[in-house]
Each structure stands twice: as structure tokens, then as C-alpha cells.
Amino acid sequence: MTARELVEILDGEIISGESRLDEEVQSIGAGDMMSDILALAKPGMVVLTAHTSPQSVRTGMVTELLGLVVVQNKNIPPATIELARQNDFLLIRTKGFMFSTCGKLYTAGFKGIDG
């Protein structure tokens, strides 16, 4: 499934990386600790997070995530948005909380790295 389908399911707001919406989502993960993301991320993965500092985007770039979904409609600092836009990094925001967002995507058929 593509990132575009993911955005539709979550009724998400596309903050940056519009050009990447047709890319295939390889897997989905969730986490707020940068090191966990660094350890477990796979290329083409989308990570759900409540973490909005520029580190989240930088971590995503280094690990080659397809993008990030910020949950809980969190306020995203301008520095984070700017870094994402500069690098055409997919950044999506949803009103859903972490648990329900994970649930919606899992039900829709997206898989985590452990199945």
C-alpha cells in the first residue's frame, strides 16, 4: 500500500514530502526514542511518533524512513518542518492518538517489521 492510502486512512495532514505519496510503505513502526528507531527502522518504513523535534526527521533521514506520522495533532516546531521540507521528507500529522492510529493502520493491512 502507498503512503497516499495511509494518509487517507488516517485523515492525515500532509506537512511535507508530497512527492513521495505514491511510494510503497514497506512497514510501519511506532516509537518516541530515537535510538529505538535507529536500531529497528528499515528503509521504506513509516514511523508513528509523538516526538516532534528536528531529531525525529534527522533520524528518519539517516535510517531512510519513507516518512513520519506525528500523532495526537501535536504542534510541530518550525525547525522540524523546515528540515523535512528541505529534504523532501514525508511528514504527516493526524489527530488520532498513538493507540488508535496503530490500530487503524494494522486493521487496514499494514504490517510491522515483526509481522
Binding site: D32, M33, M34, S35, D36, L38, A39, P43, H51, S53, P54, Q55, S56, R58, T59, M61, V62, T63, E64, A79
Partner: protein, 319 residues
């Protein structure tokens, strides 16, 4: 036994090591029709204490140990075939079994070695007790020098791993780490990754370099209380990354190596750091890693990534 105690300490850190990583590939084997005397000679020549017995298709059918040979000598059976003397009920390891499972097997069975056998029953290798420590040291080459020698070793011009000369002014990539702004952490690693991709470095290797360097850089920003530097040296067969600072040093490297252990402040945790995965992550993505640290002098991390021609690939035997 001191060795066993040390081993236990590292089992968790190196839990991702599998039997396939540690085992000796292409071990000495014999077929069941050979004489016991032949096994005795081979053990003497090769200085080994056990030989797996395989049939012509490499299926494991038994094992013979020094103990079996001593018994055979005692009962005058040295000229009989291995088939009559070998142990048939062999305890084996699967190539995918991880380090804790391997160590567990050694302590449960009190045997000196385990053949590694795949799902079909074919012999893939053998692990002797000493291979475990050897495997840990060889594959990761993690050295921690905890004495005053480190003082003089820091800021040296030579590679901590290979001993070759590495002049920082000849590094292909350099980045100044600014510890005053936590939101900048990771910038150097991202730039290094871009640089490597431009140089045509394999995508997956550039990604691994990026991740390991990100962790090292973040450690300087959040822990060292000093500025630091990232240097990268490109060699034909490998990439060497050196991250240095002149900060407070690592208090207890054993703890720092433990997943989940962190000394990070709440402020730092707000930025998503302090998961206690920094050094374990570096280790996970590096081919070789050395950390030198001296309290109040600084820390120097050297990470080596092998390029494909000589890259160590668990799926294939090393060239």
C-alpha cells in the same frame, strides 16, 4: 572460572551473534568407515579435541571426542571403525541459535564442542568452547583499555584498530560537533551519509555508517560536555569513522554497553534520547568498534565498516 564469568557478562551485549557467526566453517570431518586410529592422528595433527562424523552427503551421523578415543585405547578398539565407537546421539546447534542459547547449551551439557547442523541435518560447522570468546573478540573487536595508557592514546595519529596512520588533516570528511545545541545532534551524521552516497558508496553501507555515526555524535552532544569532531577516512576496502571529544569521558563502559542503561537527563530525554541504546546501536551497525575513554580527558570512538569486496557476510563464507 573467570572466563565463564566474563563470558556471562558479554552474552547479553552480544546476543545477536548466532552459531553461524561463531562457528568454524568447513571443520575437519571423517566418514564412519575410517579407523579410530585415524581420528586419533587427526586430532593430534590438527590440535582439536573432537571430530564430527559425516556420511558422503555431509549429513552428521556421529561425533568422536578425545574421551571416546581414550576409551577405545583402553579397550583395545583403536583399529576398529569409527562407526562402532562414535557417539551417535549428538547434541547439535542450529545455525540461527543465538549466543545466550549457545552458552546455555555449553553449561547444560558440559561438552567441549557442538556440531552446527542445518534443518536438513547437514553439517555446517562446529563450535568449541573457546570459539565463543574468540568469536566475540574477532567479530566485534571491542577493546576497552581502562588504565592510564589511554591518556597518551587519545588523540593519536594511528588507527586504534588497524594501527595504520590516520592523520586528521587528511580525512576525507570533517565535521565540528557543537554541543551547545541539542537540536543539531545528528547533523554531522546526516552530512556524512550524503557525502558517502555522493562518493558512490553502497547504499546500505552508507546507511549503517550514518546510523552508527549518529549515535556517536549524539553521545558527544548529550554526554561529553565538550565540542567534538567527526572524521571519516575512505580506504579502498573500508570506511573508518572517528568521533572524538575532550569531555568528561565514560564513567563505566560496561554499563554504557548495556541496552537500556542511560545517564541522560530528563531534558535530554525530551528530545527522544537517553534510551540507553547508543553504544549497543553503534556496535550493531559497525563491523569493528573501539572506544577509548578517560575520565576528564575525553572519548574517542573508532568505527570500521568493510566495503563489499572484503565485507564479512554471514550468509557466505569469508573470502
Amino acid at each position: 572460572m573467570a572466563e565463564a564469568k566474563n563470558l556471562q557478562k558479554y552474552v547479553d551485549i552480544f546476543r545477536d551473534l548466532t552459531a553461524a557467526d561463531i562457528m568454524t566453517r568447513n571443520p575437519v570431518t571423517l566418514t564412519p568407515d575410517k579407523k579410530v586410529a585415524r581420528a586419533k592422528e587427526m586430532m593430534k595433527i590438527k590440535k582439536i579435541s573432537g571430530i564430527p562424523i559425516v556420511n558422503s552427503d555431509q549429513f552428521l551421523v556421529g561425533i568422536i571426542s578425545i574421551e571416546d578415543i581414550i576409551k577405545a585405547l583402553e579397550y583395545g578398539r583403536i583399529n576398529e571403525t569409527l562407526e562402532t565407537v562414535m557417539t551417535r546421539d549428538v547434541v547439535t546447534l542450529h545455525p540461527e541459535e543465538n549466543l545466550p542459547a549457545i552458552v546455555d547449551k555449553f553449561s547444560t551439557y558440559k561438552l567441549g564442542r557442538f556440531p552446527v547442523v542445518d534443518g536438513d541435518g547437514r553439517l555446517r560447522g562446529i563450535i568449541a568452547r573457546e570459539d565463543i570468546l574468540h568469536g566475540i573478540l574477532e567479530k566485534f573487536n571491542l577493546i576497552y583499555i581502562h588504565d592510564t595508557k589511554r591518556n597518551t592514546k587519545l588523540d593519536q595519529e594511528f588507527s586504534l584498530i588497524t594501527g595504520e596512520r590516520l592523520r586528521v588533516d587528511e580525512a576525507e570528511f570533517h565535521y565540528n560537533i557543537d554541543n551547545s545545541d541539542i537540536t543539531s545532534a545528528g547533523t554531522g551524521a546526516a552530512l556524512l551519509k550524503q557525502f558517502l552516497k555522493k562518493k558512490g558508496i553502497d547504499h546500505e553501507i552508507a546507511r549503517r555508517v550514518g546510523i552508527a555515526t549518529y549515535e556517536a555524535e549524539t553521545n558527544v552532544v548529550i554526554h561529553s560536555c565538550s565540542k567534538g569532531d567527526i572524521y571519516c577516512f575512505l580506504k579502498p576496502d573500508r570506511i573508518i569513522v572517528r568521533v572524538t571529544d575532550s569531555g568528561i569521558g565514560i564513567e563505566d563502559l560496561d554499563k554504557a554497553m548495556t541496552e537500556g542503561f542511560s545517564t541522560a537527563s530528563d531534558y535530554v530525554r525530551e528530545f527522544g534520547f537517553g534510551a540507553g541504546m547508543g553504544i549497543p546501536n553503534m556496535n550493531r551497525f559497525a563491523d569493528k568498534l573501539v572506544i577509548l575513554s578517560e575520565k576528564k580527558v575525553g572519548t574517542q570512538v573508532e568505527i570500521v565498516f568493510f566495503l563489499p569486496a572484503v565485507s564479512w557476510n554471514p550468509g557466505n563464507p569469508s573470502p
